[in-house]
Amino acid sequence: MVQRDSFRHGIHPPEHKDETRSLAIRQFPFAPELIVPLSQHLGKPAKPIVRQGQEVVRGQTIAEADGFMSVAMHAPASGIVRQIALAPTISGEMVESVYLKTMPASSQEVDDGDPCDVESATPDEIITAIQRAGIVGLGGAAFPTHVKLKPPEGKHLDTLIINGVECEPYLTTDDRVMLEQTADVYMGIRYLLRATGAGDVIIAVEANKEEAAQKLRRERPADLPVRVRVSPVKYPQGAEKLVIKALLDREVPSGGLPADVHTICVNVATTAEIGRLLPHGRGIQERVITIGGPGIEQKGNYRIPIGTTVRFALEQTGAAENISRVFLGGPMMGPAVSNLDIPITKGTSGITAFTTTETGEATGHQKVYPCIHCARCVEACPLFLNPSQLGLLAKNEEYALMAEEFHLMDCFECGACSYVCPSHIPLVQYFRLAKKMVRKLSTAA
């Protein structure tokens, strides 16, 4: 059945947002050492402009964008560059990173760069400012935001969607940002409007964030063409394709971009950062994340310096004895952490820790049966793929067929299919692998 302001299919996993929803954002302490990967975003790594042993001030640019598909990096704390070397990251691959020894003495003051004024700046100036500020999608994909703001030739944008849905269980960062940085959000919207020339703004919120929606409505500046729309709770409401479908009833064509339907979708935290940083010409040196889950002692929403290692974070918040699984982001899409010494990056929206109690019943532990064609995955897939068929094909390594006839590459790995599968088939895992193989094949060809 089709619901208003929502999309068909999808699932309703337990939300688990209550533990952290009401906890105000707190500043997270500075770790003695921060690791800042030069590639935290999709696209080209940034070029380091600091030397080993050099002293840097918090907020200072330590690496410059290398081309358009790249963004700058800023020092998350005042300190000394111990070395520039490879560091492990969540993806498992080693990435060139700046190792920063923080100076305990430092006041960690951030000094302004050259500001960018909403009224006077031209769209292109704003776009370059955003790039200089090192802003990327904080919603998960960590896609350079300024790239999104420059739609392909001949594609005009009429609607700007601010994505405050946050459909993943456990995560409450966007919720807090909307409550505590309302002004920043609206300031960000001003920049985005000016940059894109869009005539219409919609802030998308899920029904479990009524409070935030109220506040946004209350404090909406009269001069802004903003509507706040509340859609029913359903995963993965937040996926931009689905937000756009739910709010505007427009379908981003398969393999296409939001720009194809004249919209652009920016995460609310991203927006707030734009509004907070650009007036002062600063860059991202920290972000808001939710540290939660049954495995965490002091759950909460923290403004945490980029580059803090997961180990330090967990040491600060305290972790349960029987902690058994840690992943970045939420339980639906968040990749599991195998090595605690990886840094938190701009794309990290949270740290969630499970104990043996949860993992005992989590997918990994349940017996895997053959597909019984129950069609639950088909009923769940928000993109109307056929995970059952895809799964069978994946098992038989029919990767080309999967891509050609069953739209494998459309899959955005939301995990809804795996979640509902009574045979506990690790479908998404299959699909990630399959997509890799297909990309390999296509590059090989």
Partner: protein
Amino acid sequence: MTDVSHWSVFINAALINNFVLAYFLGLCPFFGVSAKLETAARMGGAVSFVMLVASVCAYVINLLLDAVNAPYLRIISYILVISSTVQLVEMLMRKLSPATFRALGIFLPLITTNCAILGLALFQTNRGYEFTQAVAYALGAGAGFALALVLMAGVREKLDLANVPELVKGTAAAYIVAGILSMSFMGFAGLGR
């Protein structure tokens, strides 16, 4: 045989006494090309077509043989005339409609001397069908063969993705599916009366 209705002849040949599932005729194409649906469908078309040709040939030959009263030449003349006629049709098809030829042509050589075809000719003779009845019989047999072949192909493609034991894969599995199909077709018994 003048009294049996064309409908009844058709249904009987297509469903009740299906050539593959009830008479075991044409097993080679049935198992040989039922692995992929696409080829199966085309083979079905080719067989139906050749059956029609064969039926007409057989009817004419039979008249001639009765005229010269040489029944002992039936088998040999059936097989020679049918196969050469199909060759002829093949050549014509290649000329007139290359598209059709590409679709069905490649199968024709395989099935010209195939038992389902000759079987059709012989059965229609034994049953003493009139010309129109013979045509109905050929159409029914062809339709039934194509149906069985297509159903078989569908199931086999499904089984390709299932975890069928090595020992069973291939011929054995195909025979079992054929058996189950044959059982299911028993549901049609008694139709068309």
